[in-house]
């Protein structure tokens, strides 16, 4: 029989330490829906999504019941819509409406892929799609959008960076009556992965199969509890403990992904080895760092502690899964992490520190609430800085900042649910970045891109 201690450990992780599968995301290629008539194309998009993912939610719920493990989100990602828009022309928001209707019909909580990949330049349909993002996000409930503005191989498309500053601010303005939520559903990427199951940045890359199932695991609470059991241990021991815990968490993700793939008859893609926090108490990445010995997340030492955590999660997880992908690492979304929210509120955690932290962890400046009167050029400049970190370090980085329209430093914004809440953080706007951003052009790819 299975060891009693192991059984009780698993149950304790689920009941008391918020262990869960964060998301099962089905990737659906929409390339077969492309055509020159946008109405017909949008109908095909709705049909293909609802047909392909018809059983996604019930299958997820069945797996939850069989294995006793909560699966928090069931989601869908699709081919970047700019590719369909290139073929059909017309107003791309029609595709967003079709995606939204499909998401509602399926019962998924987000659908990602209102996206464009413009790291080297714009092709037909890309500019139209980017310009339509604010309207698409304000008109829909479930649609998420992302734009890849650079890669280590291609450099940074600064024209796209300039456009995205405008898009972020407009998305917030158009949804000012709903806590500027439009901007919370929009991610600007550098080195975007094509198989990421997490929102808002999930899309189904052009190199992916027709259909695929990807799984994102979570478990910051489990890691924190494991670290808490080692008072006085040195950091080598802490790294080992995190590795072992990450292994167990990831094995669970691998099992759920394999079973979901069998039941749905869709190939299994990857497990995303991520520590994704939620605003719930006991599910915070910041609290893991604090458990390691930092009084508050954001004090000197935070970047080093995060580097250790991120690396140990990957090392533990990689052997537990046959295919690893997506973003894989620790997430640091401020408004979705109880410890980060407290640290930001107290002023210890600043945007500058978060920027440094993104050099050693999974994603980037994520779910950061900034003053509503921020200029689009400043948002673009933040995106450019973050993209440069990703480009030079050959890693994914991203920016998801939310200009809180009508609010300023000291105010709070409340999204509710998994998106959480948080204080408006101070942005260093002592001088303007306008002239730099308006230059446009491309920042050339760095030397480290020349590996061939």
């Amino acid at each position: 029989m299975i060891n009693t201690k192991d059984i009780l450990e698993t149950i304790n992780m689920i009941d008391n330490e918020n262990l869960d599968i964060r998301t099962i995301t089905m990737g659906i290629s929409l390339l077969s829906c492309a055509g020159d008539d946008i109405e017909r194309s949008a109908d095909k998009v709705y049909d293909k999504i609802t047909r392909s993912a018809e059983k996604l939610v019930v299958t997820g719920e069945e797996i939850e019941r069989t294995y006793g493990i909560p699966i928090i989100n069931k989601r869908v990602s699709v081919t970047p819509i700019a590719m369909l828009s290139a073929a059909s022309g017309g107003d791309p928001v029609k595709y967003a409406r079709a995606m939204d209707r499909a998401a509602k019909e399926l019962g998924v909580n987000f659908i990602g892929g209102y996206s464009a990949l413009v790291h080297k330049g714009f092709s037909s349909g890309d500019r139209e799609l980017i310009s339509s993002i604010p309207e698409a996000l304000s008109e829909t409930e479930f649609v998420c959008s992302s734009v890849n503005v650079g890669s280590t191989k291609a450099g940074i498309n600064m024209d796209a960076v300039a456009m995205m500053g405008d898009a972020v601010v407009s998305a917030a303005r158009l949804t000012a009556d709903r806590n500027s939520i439009g901007a919370a559903k929009l991610v600007v990427f550098m080195n975007a992965p094509e198989d990421n199951p997490f929102m808002a940045g999930a899309f189904h890359g052009p190199g992916e199969p027709d259909l695929v199932v990807n799984v994102g695991v979570s478990g910051p609470g489990v890691v924190r509890a494991a670290v808490a059991k080692c008072p006085g241990a040195n950091l080598s021991t802490i790294a080992d403990v995190i590795k072992k815990t990450a292994f167990k968490i990831t094995r669970m993700g691998q099992l759920v992904g394999t079973v979901a793939s069998e039941k749905l008859g869709v190939p299994f893609g990857i497990v995303d080895l991520s520590l994704a926090p939620t605003p719930a108490v006991g599910d915070s990445v910041a609290h893991i760092l604090e458990e390691m010995g930092l009084e508050t997340c954001g004090v000197p030492g935070t970047t080093a502690a995060l580097a250790l955590l991120n690396d140990a999660v990957k090392k533990g997880g990689v052997m537990a899964s046959s295919h690893v992908g997506g973003l894989s690492g620790a997430f640091i979304p401020v408004s979705e992490d109880a410890g980060m929210i407290d640290a930001a509120r107290s002023g210890v955690l600043t945007i500058e520190k978060l920027e440094a932290m993104t050099a050693v962890c999974s994603v980037g400046l994520d779910m950061i609430i900034v003053p509503g009167d921020i200029s689009p050029a400043t948002v673009s400049a933040i995106i450019a800085d973050e993209a440069a970190i990703g480009m030079v370090n050959s890693k994914t980085t991203a920016v998801r900042v939310i200009p809180a329209i009508g609010k300023n430093v000291g105010d709070e914004l409340e999204f509710g649910g998994l998106l959480g809440s948080g204080p408006v953080m101070r942005v260093n706007d002592a001088g303007s970045s306008e002239v730099f951003i308006r230059r446009g052009g491309r920042i050339p790819a760095p030397l480290q891109s020349l590996k061939n």
Partner: protein, 89 residues
């Protein structure tokens, strides 16, 4: 296929009997049972064969969870693969 039932809570009379009869009702064959009582905290782990179930698995787990609520215990019913995956290489 096998599943694991765990029952955790304050010790009372008849826990094993109630869980066993709920299993029998649904056609689950009990293969192994371990239990311990520390102070008055009761922990029971039961391995069952679910190949001969007369209902589907989720019905068995919801009826056992309901029974747990009635007797004030926390009951989990989980497919054994989750433990094998997490704790064995």
């Amino acid at each position: 296929m096998k599943a694991v039932i765990t029952v955790i809570g304050h010790d009372t009379v008849g826990i094993l009997a109630k869980v066993s009869s709920a299993c029998a009702e649904k056609g689950a064959n009990i293969l192994d049972v371990t239990q311990s009582v520390m102070r008055d905290m009761f922990t029971m782990i039961m391995l069952i064969d679910i190949d001969g179930l007369t209902s589907d698995f989720s019905e068995l787990s919801s009826s056992l969870e309901k029974l747990g609520e009635q007797i004030g215990m926390k009951v989990h019913v989980m497919h054994e693969d989750i433990f094998n995956s997490m704790h064995r290489i």
